[in-house]
C-alpha cells in the first residue's frame, strides 16, 4: 500500500494512478469524488468505451494497413494477418494472465510484478470501479487490453517478409507475458518505476521504447531479408500505408486521450497536444526529406506523423501546446535521421523501421517529457527541466534505460528459445515466392 501511495503522489498522472486504491491530494477533482463513495461517471464511461474502440482500430485495420502497404505485393496478406492474429491471440493471453501481471497485486514482489491473483479477471465484479477512476474495472481491463495488443503487434514490422507465422504467434505470446506485462506493472501498475516518479502518460516507455527495442533485437536475430540492398523492395501500395497512418492517428486520440482515464480536461488537452505534435513531426520529416533527397514523399510524411505521435505519447498529459510543437519538430527530424541515414550506415534490416520510429521516437519523447513538462498541465510537482526540475530528466533516463536493458535481454532470450524449438525464419523458397502463397495459401489477385 505504501508503495502505491508513494507512486501516486510522485507520479500524479492519471495514467500512473490507475492502479491505486485511494488517493488524497494530487488530483483535486477525483479526490472530491473519492470523499464520498465514488460513483461511476457516465461521461467518463462513454469516453473510455470510445477510446477502447478506437485504440483497437489502431491495430485492426490501422497497423495492418500501415505495414501491409509497405511490403512487396507477395507478402501483403501475411503482413495484415500478423496484426489481425495478434489482436485475436493477445486478447486471450491478456485475459488469462497478462492483466494480472500488469495490474494485479504482486505482494512482496509488487515492485516488479503483479502476481497471478487476477488471472482470468478473477475478482472482477460487474459494477466495481477501478478506483480512483470513475469507470468500471471491466472497462479498464478491456481498454488496457487494446494497449497489450498493439505493442507486440508493432514488432512485426521489424521482421516483415521473413518470419514464420507460427513462430511469430509463440513469440508474441511469450513477449506479452514476460516483457510487456511486467514493464506495464513497473510504470502503471504500482511498480518501482512509477514509484520513482517516471512520467509516462500513455506509454512512451511501456509501449514504444519497448516494441522498438524488441524490434531491433528481432531484426538482428533474424538477419536481413534475402536481396536486401540489391533487390527492389519498394512499398507496393502506399495508399494502404496512408490509410493505416490515418487510423493510427485518429485512434491515438483514444490512446493518449483515454489515458486520462475519463472525459476530463486532461483528456482534452492530451488530444490537442497530440494533434500538434503529430502534425509538427510530419512536417519536419517531410521538409527534411525534401531538402536532403529532393522530393517530399508520401511514406515520409506518414512516417513523420507516426513519429510525432510516438514522441508525444509519454508527454501528452504533462506538456502544453507550445512544448508539443517543439517536441514534434525535434522528434520528426531525429526519427528521420534514425530511419534513413543511421539505419543504412549500420546495415541492420529493420524492415519497416520499428526501431527508427518507435524505439528512437519513444526515447526522444521520454527525455523531452522531462524537459518540457509544465505544472499547469500535469499538476503540482509535474515539472520538467524548463521549469527548473532537472532531476526529472535523470528519472526519465533511468526509467528508459531500465526498460531498454530488460527488454533487450528478455527479447533476445525469448527469440533464442523459440528458434531452438521451432526456428524463426521461413525457408528461402518461401521468402522468394512470397509468404502469402506459401504460408497462407492465398494471394491478392
Amino acid at each position: 500500500m505504501k508503495t502505491c501511495i508513494r507512486s501516486i503522489t510522485s507520479v500524479a498522472a492519471l495514467a500512473a494512478a490507475w492502479a491505486m486504491v485511494s488517493m488524497t491530494t494530487a488530483l483535486p477533482a477525483l479526490a472530491q469524488a473519492a470523499a464520498a463513495a465514488p460513483k461511476m461517471d457516465s461521461g467518463d464511461m462513454a469516453w473510455m468505451l470510445t477510446s477502447t474502440v478506437i485504440v483497437l482500430m489502431m491495430t485492426i485495420p490501422g497497423l495492418a494497413l500501415f505495414y501491409g502497404g509497405m511490403v512487396r505485393k507477395k507478402n501483403v496478406l501475411a503482413t495484415v494477418m500478423q496484426s489481425f492474429a495478434a489482436a485475436c491471440l493477445l486478447s486471450i493471453v491478456w485475459m488469462v494472465v497478462g492483466y494480472s501481471i500488469a495490474f494485479g497485486d504482486g505482494g512482496a514482489l509488487n515492485a516488479y510484478f503483479g502476481g497471478f491473483g487476477k488471472m482470468f479477471f478473477a475478482g472482477m465484479t460487474k459494477d466495481g470501479l477501478f478506483a480512483p477512476l470513475l469507470i468500471t474495472e471491466s472497462l479498464f481491463a478491456v481498454f488496457q487490453m487494446t494497449f497489450a495488443i498493439i505493442t507486440p503487434a508493432l514488432i512485426a514490422g521489424a521482421v516483415a517478409d521473413r518470419m514464420k507465422f507460427s513462430s511469430f504467434l509463440v513469440f508474441i505470446t511469450l513477449w506479452l507475458i514476460i516483457v510487456y506485462a511486467p514493464i506495464a506493472h513497473w510504470v502503471w501498475g504500482g511498480g518501482f518505476l512509477g514509484a520513482d516518479g517516471i512520467m509516462d502518460f500513455a506509454g512512451g516507455t511501456v509501449v514504444h521504447i519497448n516494441s522498438g527495442v524488441a524490434g531491433l533485437v528481432a531484426a538482428l536475430v533474424l538477419g536481413r531479408r534475402k536481396g536486401y540492398g540489391t533487390e527492389n523492395m519498394a512499398p507496393h501500395n502506399l495508399v494502404y500505408t496512408v490509410m493505416g497512418a490515418a487510423f493510427l492517428w485518429v485512434g491515438w486520440f483514444g490512446f493518449n486521450g483515454g489515458s486520462a482515464g475519463g472525459a476530463n480536461d486532461s483528456a482534452a488537452m492530451a488530444i490537442l497536444v497530440t494533434q500538434i505534435c503529430a502534425a509538427a513531426a510530419a512536417l519536419a520529416w517531410m521538409f527534411a526529406e525534401w531538402m536532403t533527397h529532393g522530393k517530399p514523399s508520401v511514406l515520409g510524411i506518414a512516417s513523420g506523423a507516426i513519429a510525432g505521435l510516438v514522441v508525444i505519447t509519454p508527454a501528452a498529459g504533462f506538456v502544453d501546446p507550445k512544448g508539443a510543437l517543439i517536441m514534434g519538430l525535434i522528434g520528426g527530424i531525429v526519427c528521420f535521421i534514425a530511419s534513413t541515414g543511421i539505419k543504412r550506415a549500420l546495415g541492420y534490416d529493420d524492415s519497416l523501421d520499428v526501431f527508427g520510429i518507435h524505439g528512437v521516437g519513444g526515447f526522444v519523447g521520454a527525455i523531452l517529457t522531462g524537459v518540457f513538462a509544465v505544472s499547469w498541465i500535469g499538476g503540482e510537482g509535474k515539472s520538467g527541466l524548463l521549469e527548473g526540475n532537472a532531476a526529472q530528466v535523470w528519472i526519465q533516463l533511468y526509467g528508459t534505460f531500465a526498460t531498454i536493458a530488460y527488454c533487450a535481454v528478455a527479447t533476445f532470450v525469448i527469440l533464442m528459445v523459440v528458434k531452438l524449438f521451432m526456428g524463426l525464419r521461413v525457408d528461402e523458397q518461401t521468402e522468394v515466392e512470397g509468404l502469402d502463397a506459401r504460408l497462407h495459401g492465398e494471394t491478392v489477385h
Binding site: N232, M233, A234, P235, E289, H293, K295, S297, L299, G300, S303, S339, T340, G341, K343, R344, D353, G356
Partner: protein
C-alpha cells in the same frame, strides 16, 4: 501476312488506334509492358533507400496485316506515335505463316 509489333508511349495509344482505324484495319491486340532503353527511368526513394525504376511503362500493340498493308500500317503507327523525344519506341515486323479466325474458321488473309 505480317505481324507488326509496336512498342509505344502509353498516352499515344488512342492516336495510334485511330490512325490504324483510318486505314481500315479493324483489329489489334494491346498489352501493358515495361520498356528499357535509352530513355532513363526515375528514382524512387523510400525512407532513404533509393530504387532506380529502370523500366518505364510502355504499350505493346500487335497487329496482323496482309503483306500488302504492311508499309502503310507501319508508317501510320510511326507517325501517330512520334513525339520526337527519347523513348518513343520501336516497330518490329515479322512473318506470320498461318492465321485463323476462331469464330468462323476462316483462314489467312480472310481471317484478319
Amino acid at each position: 501476312m505480317k505481324l507488326i509489333t509496336a512498342i509505344i508511349k502509353p498516352f499515344k495509344l488512342e492516336e495510334v488506334r485511330s490512325a490504324l482505324t483510318d486505314l481500315g484495319l479493324q483489329g489489334m491486340t494491346v498489352s501493358e509492358v515495361k520498356g528499357y532503353g535509352r530513355q532513363k527511368g526515375h528514382t524512387e526513394i523510400y525512407r532513404g533507400a533509393e530504387y532506380a525504376v529502370n523500366f518505364l511503362p510502355k504499350i505493346k500493340i500487335e497487329v496482323a496485316v496482309t503483306s500488302a498493308e504492311v508499309d502503310k500500317a507501319v508508317s501510320a503507327i510511326a507517325t501517330a506515335a512520334k513525339t520526337g523525344q527519347i523513348g518513343d519506341g520501336k516497330i518490329f515486323v515479322s512473318a506470320i505463316e498461318h492465321t485463323l479466325r476462331i469464330r468462323t474458321g476462316e483462314t489467312d488473309d480472310n481471317a484478319l
